[in-house]
Subunit: 407 residues, 2 copies
C-alpha cells in the first residue's frame, strides 16, 4: 500500500462543484488501494475577502490576530472537501494545522515548520480514512495559530510528505506543470517532463507560480520527488527531483521574466573601503532584500552603486537611504520602476561555455539593451526595459530552442 | 477590580462598524478598571452563509465536519474584534473554544460543556489584556471542535462567567431587555426591570429570543446574575436573578406566543393500559420532543390522543407514527399546522388562585377558542388558532395589566 500526499490549491477548490471534483480525484487514488493524505488551501478568494474585512477594521493588524483570522479559510475548505468525500460514500476526516500538530516557530504570518507530529494522522489512516489537512497553517508552543506565509500550503504538503515518508507527493493547481516559459507570453512554451530541484528553485524564485521556493527547498532537503499537475484535467505534469544524471544536463530548461523589481541607483558615493558594505548592511538590517548589484567607478573617486529590490520594499528602502545619506556622504539616489529581469535557468550551463554570450548576443541582435547582469551557477539574469520583457522572453525561448525541450 | 464577562451576539458584530462599536463599549468597561472577558458570536449571517455553502455539497453532512465548518464563524469575529480593540490602543487577545479549553462531551452540533479550564484566560488577564472568546464552540477529548447548538454563545458566556466567578455577566444583543410580550405584536409591551430564573426559563422556552434556556439554567445553577441589554444603545436592560422575595412575587410577568408548533391527533386508539406510553416512548426514542398532550375517551372504548410538537420534527414524527400504526392498532392520525401556543408566565401564579380562570374567561369574552391547555407551576399555555395569536397576546397583556409591570 502506497501513501500519497496530494495538495490542491485555492483555485482547485474555489466552489462546491470544484470541491466535488477534487473529492472524486482523491477517491480514485483511494480506490487504487493507496492511503491518501490531502492538503488543501482556502477556497478561491476567501483569503482576499478576509483581508478586505480586516482592512475595514485596521491598517496595522496584530500578526497573531491576522493568523487567527486567516486560518479560518482552510478550515472551511477541509470541512467541505471532507463532506464531499463522505457524500460519495467514502470515509474521511479533516484536521486543522493545530490538530495535525504542524508545529512552527513563533513568527506569525511567516512561521517556519519545526516539526510535524504524525500521531493523529497515522491513527486516522490506520482506520482507513482519507485525511484532509489544512494547508498554510500551524501551531506554536503557546497553542496559538500561525500561518506559513506565501506558498504555505505547498510547504505544508512537502513537510507532511517528508514526515510520513510518503511514496508520492503531488501538487495540483490550475497550472498543469512547469513550463519553459510563461505560456501566456511565449506561445510555443513547452511543458517540462522533469526538472531538478535547483532549476525549479530558480524558476520559482523568478516568479513561476507553480510551486513555492520554500517547498522546493524542503523537498530537496528530504530528496522527495514532487509531481506538479493540474486538478482540472489528467494531462501529464512535471516531475521535480534530484538530478540523477551527472552528464547530459540540459543547458537551459526555462526562461522567466520578473516584472516586480525596481532599480535604485545611489549616485556619487565616495570610493572608500566599506562604504558599499555599510549601505547594504543598513538595508539588510531593515529587512530589504537586495537582488542584483553593480558598482561603477565614475570620475573623481566617486562611485555609482545600482541595485534592484522588490517593488513592495520601495518605501522601506527609501526610508533607509534617507537615514544613511548624510553619514555615507552620497549625493542622491534615483529610482527606476521601468525595469524587468529576464533570466534563463539550467543546471547544465555551468559546464557549457558560451551560454551567457548567446543570451547577450541574441538580445543585441534584437535591439534589447541590457542594464545589469547577474549570474549564478545555473542562472543568468539581465535587467532590461519593462516594455521589452515579452519580446526578450520570446527571443531567448527561440535561441535556446526551448520548444523542443523534451526531445 | 471587578471581572466582567460580556457577550455580544451576531447582529451586534454584523459588520466592521458594529465591531468597532463593540470595541468601544468593551474599552469603556476596561477604562473603568474592570477585567474584561468578551464572548462573541459569528458575524451576522456568516453561519447562514456557511450552511448554504454546505448545502451545495451534501444534504447529510457529518456532524463533526459541520462543527469544523461552523466554528470558523466565531474565529473570524474574535480576530476582528481584537484588532478593533488594538486599533484603539488597548491590549487584547482572542481565544478560540479550543484555546480556551471549553471542554465538552462528544456530541457534535449539540455538545454540552463539561468543564472550562481557565488557566490561559487567567494568564492573559494577569497581563492586563482584554480577552475575546469565541462563543458557541468547544473541544472534546479527541481535540475535535464541537458546537453547543442553538443559543450556544449564551451558554459559553454563562459557563465562563461561572468558572471565573465573575462579578458581572452581561448579555448584549439587538434586544434591549426582556419584555412582557413581543413589542412587535403588543404595542404597549413593557420591559421588565428584573425577572427570576424560572420565569426567564419559561419565557425563553416559549421563544423569547433574548436568552437561551440552557444559559438561564446554567446561570440558575450557579446563582449568577445576568444583565440583558442592547449593544446598540445605553438603555437600561433587564436583570435575571434568583427571586429574593418570598412574598410579593408578581402573578404574571409576561405573555408569549409560539407559532412553531403543530398539533397531531391520533384517532381511535384502543383504550388499553400502556398504549399511550408505548406511543410516546417510540416518539421519544426517535428524538421527537412532545409538548402538550390531551387524551379524550371517545365512544367504543377508543381514545383520541392529541399532542403538539415543534414543526421541524413533523417528518420524523410521521415516520414514527407510520411505523407503530399497525402494532398500536390506531385508525389514523391528522396533522394541524394552524395552531399557536399562547402562554402566560409568572412565579407568583402558584400562590394566586384564579389566574387560569382569568385567562380562559378573557379568551372566551374575545371569541378565542381554546383547543388544548397545559399548566405548570409558573406557566399556563393554551393552544388556539394561529390567526388569533396576536389578538390573544394583546388580550392577555391587557387582562394582566402587563403594561404597568414595573410599578
Amino acid at each position: 500500500m502506497s501513501l500519497i500526499v496530494q495538495k490542491y490549491g485555492g483555485s482547485s477548490v474555489a466552489n462546491p462543484d470544484l470541491i466535488k471534483n477534487v473529492a472524486r480525484r482523491v477517491i480514485e487514488g483511494y480506490e487504487e488501494g493507496n492511503q491518501m493524505v490531502v492538503v488543501v488551501s482556502a477556497m478561491g478568494d476567501t483569503t482576499d475577502h478576509l483581508i478586505e474585512l480586516m482592512g475595514n477594521i485596521t491598517d496595522d493588524p496584530d500578526p497573531r490576530e491576522v493568523d487567527m483570522l486567516l486560518t479560518t479559510g482552510e478550515q472551511v475548505s477541509i470541512a467541505l472537501l471532507t463532506m464531499a468525500i463522505h457524500s460519495l460514500g467514502y470515509p474521511a476526516i479533516s484536521l486543522t494545522g493545530s490538530q495535525m500538530k504542524i508545529k512552527t516557530n513563533e513568527k506569525h504570518n511567516q512561521a517556519m515548520i519545526t516539526d510535524v507530529d504524525t500521531t493523529r494522522l497515522r491513527k486516522e489512516l490506520a482506520e482507513n480514512k482519507i485525511v484532509i489537512v489544512a494547508g498554510f497553517q500551524g501551531i506554536n508552543d503557546n497553542q496559538d495559530f500561525t500561518t506559513l506565509g506565501r506558498g504555505g500550503s505547498d510547504t505544508t504538503t512537502v513537510a507532511v510528505a517528508a514526515a510520513m515518508n510518503a511514496n508520492r507527493c503531488e501538487i495540483y493547481s490550475d497550472v498543469d506543470g512547469v513550463y519553459t516559459a510563461d505560456p501566456r507570453v511565449v506561445s510555443d512554451a513547452s511543458k517540462l517532463d522533469s526538472i531538478s530541484y535547483e532549476e525549479m528553485l530558480e524558476l520559482a524564485n523568478l516568479g513561476a507560480n507553480v510551486l513555492h521556493p520554500r517547498a522546493v527547498e524542503l523537498a530537496n532537503n528530504y530528496n522527495l520527488e514532487l509531481y506538479i499537475a493540474s486538478s482540472f484535467n489528467k494531462t501529464v505534469g512535471t516531475i521535480v527531483r534530484g538530478d540523477e544524471k551527472m552528464e547530459g544536463k540540459k543547458n537551459v530548461v526555462g526562461a522567466a521574466s520578473d516584472l516586480g523589481e525596481i532599480k535604485i541607483t545611489v549616485e556619487r558615493v565616495p570610493d572608500e573601503p566599506g562604504i558599499a558594505g555599510k549601505m547594504f548592511k543598513a538595508l539588510a538590517d531593515a529587512g530589504v532584500n537586495v537582488d542584483m548589484i553593480i558598482q561603477n567607478l565614475q570620475r573623481d573617486e566617486l562611485n555609482d552603486i545600482t541595485f534592484t529590490i522588490n517593488q513592495e520594499q520601495e518605501k522601506l528602502a527609501v526610508k533607509v537611504l534617507n537615514k544613511i545619506k548624510e553619514k555615507l556622504k552620497f549625493d542622491n539616489y534615483t529610482i527606476d520602476q521601468d525595469v524587468a529581469k529576464i533570466s534563463i535557468v539550467g543546471a547544465g550551463m555551468q559546464s557549457t561555455p558560451g551560454i551567457a554570450a548567446r543570451m547577450f548576443t541574441s538580445f543585441g541582435e534584437n535591439d534589447i539593451n541590457i542594464e545589469m547582469i547577474t549570474t549564478s551557477e545555473i542562472k543568468i539574469s539581465c535587467l532590461i526595459k519593462k516594455e521589452e520583457a515579452d519580446k526578450a522572453l520570446n527571443v531567448l525561448h527561440k535561441e535556446f530552442q526551448l520548444d523542443q525541450i523534451n526531445n
